[in-house]
């Protein structure tokens, strides 16, 4: 089994189901907003880099979006 | 990449004065002064006391404001008491040298004037200061003419170190120095510098400053900026009243103050009002812009009403009676018992003074008068001893 920690929650994948890239992960999760930014193991990744960012077993991923605030 | 604006992006005082034409266009400003009406003066008085804008000050120094001196005086008195309480700082000058390389036509120490020049050694200067300390002073002003060869940075730092133990505030009023030199002096214990532009009008400046380093108007103009950069706590400004039209000079002086206040928010600006007085070798007919007592009062009040926190300094150039009346109108710092010749506290008649003193009362007498007028003579304002090089350590 492979796993990724996404926003603090561990998600498991069968080896052949594991999202290859960040773009695929977002697709799988159904994450919509265009103003999303990710951190992979603490490193910031911009939206336009998602399809070039390969994922590895055990990485910690933060998905962050803009929302309403004061 | 968006670079945030820094202090150096903002216009220099030179370009501010030039763009406002305050350094050369007398006709323009005389006309604007004439056009001020009584209603303009009332509007200026109704605006927030202690706040500055050029239009407000223009109204307050105008001929039209002469009929409003009493309300100006009341406001000024109230504002000063609110900000400074009833405390009056007392200080005294120590003249270090009368040797000078400049030729300034208005000054008794002009190098063309023939009289025996005197210099005090550090020992002798310290001895003069000792006399002042014994009279109760804790606030002292070291004064010198342009005698760079003798009154060096080393001299001043040595003297400052000796004085620091006795005096809580040591200021200097000497020839102009560089920012690095001011920094060294600040580290040695000099807390304030006074440097008069003498006149902001370029043509007038050229006419009266014939030769020597002081003849450079622009260099002189940027002196206070160097003091601010060096961290000086007090920056003293002033014009020699009588060289040019005092109303226009006051406007330029205020622009200078405002510029410095915005840039060096940790320094306090103060204004002095040296009014031309008889001095050895200076014929009176050469000065068509001499101020009356009424003009002097109007100038002080106008500045106080525009600068709530500025120090207003009065020296012993002015006669006793006038000083006593001016005390309640916005003054915050007063010299007393001054001698304007080097060595003057031990031997008052031995050497030539820079200008004639007109209030000859002793410091004790001045303090007593202050008390009868409801003021508290303050010999020391704050204590540099709290600040000298202490490090933060856990006890």
């Amino acid at each position: 089994m492979r796993s990724l920690k996404v926003n603090g929650t561990e998600r498991r994948f069968a080896p052949d189901q594991m999202p290859r890239t960040l773009a695929v992960l977002l697709d799988v999760l159904g994450v919509g907003p265009t103003t999303v930014v990710a951190e992979v193991d603490g490193q910031i990744v911009r939206r336009d880099e998602f399809d070039r960012t390969e994922l590895k077993d055990g990485q910690q991923i933060e998905l962050i979006k803009l929302m309403g605030g004061g | 990449m968006n670079q945030p604006s820094t202090i150096s992006d903002r216009p220099s005082i030179r370009s501010v004065l030039a763009s406002r034409r305050l350094d050369h266009d007398r006709d323009l400003w005389e006309q604007r002064l004439r056009e001020v009406t009584s209603r303009d003066v009332e509007a200026a008085l109704a605006s927030r006391p202690g706040s500055y804008c050029l239009t407000k000050l223009l109204a307050l120094v105008s001929p039209a404001a002469e009929g409003h001196l009493e309300p100006m005086a009341r406001l000024s008195q109230q504002l000063t008491i609110r900000r400074f309480g009833r405390a009056m700082r007392l200080y005294a000058p120590v003249y270090l040298s009368s040797h000078c390389v400049n030729r300034c036509r208005y000054c008794g120490f002009n190098r063309d004037n023939a009289f025996p020049r005197v210099r005090l050694t550090v020992e002798e200067a310290a001895a003069q200061a000792e006399i002042l300390a014994s009279e109760g002073f804790r606030d002292i002003l070291l004064v010198s003419s342009e005698d760079k060869a003798f009154i060096t940075v080393a001299y001043l730092t040595e003297l400052a170190k000796r004085l620091k133990g006795k005096f809580s505030f040591v200021g200097i009023e000497i020839y102009q120095m560089s920012a690095q030199e001011y920094e060294r002096l600040f580290e040695a214990g000099i807390d304030g510098v006074t440097l008069y532009q003498e006149t902001y009008d370029r043509a007038t400046y050229a006419r009266y400053h014939l030769d020597g380093p002081k003849a450079d108007y622009d260099m002189r103009l940027h002196g206070p900026d160097d003091m601010g950069r060096a961290g000086m706590r007090e920056i003293g400004l002033g014009v020699l009243l009588g060289l040019a039209d005092w109303r226009i000079e006051t406007l330029a002086l205020a622009e200078h103050a405002s510029h410095l206040i915005r840039r060096y928010w940790q320094s306090r600006i103060s204004f002095s009002f040296p009014r031309l007085r008889p001095a050895c070798g200076v014929p009176a007919a050469e000065f068509p812009h001499l101020l009356s007592d009424q003009n002097l009062v109007q100038m002080m009040l106008a500045l106080r009403l525009c600068f709530a926190d500025a120090g207003i300094v009065l020296s012993t150039r002015e006669p006793a009676r006038l000083r006593d009346h001016l005390i309640g109108l916005g003054v915050t710092r007063l010299s007393a018992g001054s001698r304007t010749s080097p060595g003057g506290y031990t031997d008052p008649d031995a050497n030539t003074g820079q200008f004639e003193v007109n209030d000859h009362r002793s410091p004790g007498k001045v303090a007593a008068v202050l008390k009868t007028r409801g003021f508290d003579p303050v010999w020391k304002d704050w204590d540099g001893a709290f600040c000298s090089g202490s490090e933060l350590t856990c006890l």
Binding site: I44, I64, L66, G69, G70 | N2, A46
Partner: protein, 257 residues
């Protein structure tokens, strides 16, 4: 009325609006429209994996409004810097409203962490708009560091108490060389007008609009109040009258010559 300039960009509106606490994205969008604002603040949060498509900001026209991300949630300088970098990566713009609020009750900003974060962010090329208590010295320190504005609070976030810090705000307005945006605690249009009358360059309103009975009408009211306050300030208001005490003349001596 003269225009507002922040970091070299010119704005016609002096009302900044926050996008939080609205009942729906549609109401939010309509209120923003009615407010005439050109700068709107937004926050950063983790995507909710259970509702991942939620995009409250899809209604905001990014051509029309400058999005100003805030670092709300940060309790330290490190967190604020991290959020700022994330925001820049998310939006492509380098403006950030720096908010470091360790105190969860009043959401008051920490001056020490704010100054630390501001120094780092300015060096990294951000346009920093720091949210602070109405502390005039802190405002000068931030200006020295190179922030684009200061944003002192009127009263705690969401309290709707108005200009409790008025006396300090007046000092900040007097001493500041950079725009002063009064932020937090303004509950009524009259509070906003008051802030503008004392010389603030702009105000930021969120709770008072978002939680009003009719947010769109309230947004309009705030727009009008900010305009009225600014016009009054530019017209040169008179200080409240003071009556001088009757006593002997102070300048009579001049006539005794």
């Amino acid at each position: 009325m003269d225009k507002l300039t922040i970091a070299g960009r010119v704005f016609a509106s002096r009302l900044l609006v926050g996008t939080g606490k609205f009942a729906s994205p549609q109401v939010m969008a309509a209120a923003l429209e009615a407010s005439g604002a050109e700068i709107v603040t937004v926050a950063l949060r983790r995507v909710d994996i259970d509702d991942p498509a939620d995009d409250t900001l899809r209604e905001i026209d990014r051509e029309r409004f400058l999005l100003l991300p805030n670092t709300s949630g940060a309790r330290s300088a490190e967190e604020a810097v991290r959020l700022s970098r994330l925001a820049r990566a998310a939006t492509g713009i380098n403006w950030v409203k720096l908010e470091v609020t360790p105190d969860p009750y009043y959401l008051l900003p920490c001056p020490v962490e704010t100054l630390k974060a501001a120094e780092v962010l300015v060096k990294e090329g951000f346009v920093v708009l720091p949210y602070i208590n109405a502390d005039p010295i802190l405002a000068k320190r931030l200006e020295d560091v190179g922030t684009a504005t200061v944003m002192p609070l009127g009263s705690p976030i969401g309290s709707n108490q108005g200009l409790k810090t008025r006396a300090s705000l007046e000092i900040i307005v007097e001493q500041s060389n950079i725009p002063v945006v009064v932020d937090a605690g303004l509950g009524l249009p009259s509070h906003a007008a008051e802030a503008m009358e004392i010389g603030a360059d702009a105000v930021l309103i969120n709770t008072a609009i978002a939680t009003a009975g009719d947010p769109i009408e309230m947004a309009t009211a705030f727009r009008l109040a900010v305009e009225a306050g600014r016009k009054a300030y530019e017209a040169g208001p008179r200080a409240p009258g003071r009556h001088a005490e009757a006593s002997s003349p102070l300048t009579g001596f001049l006539r005794e010559q």
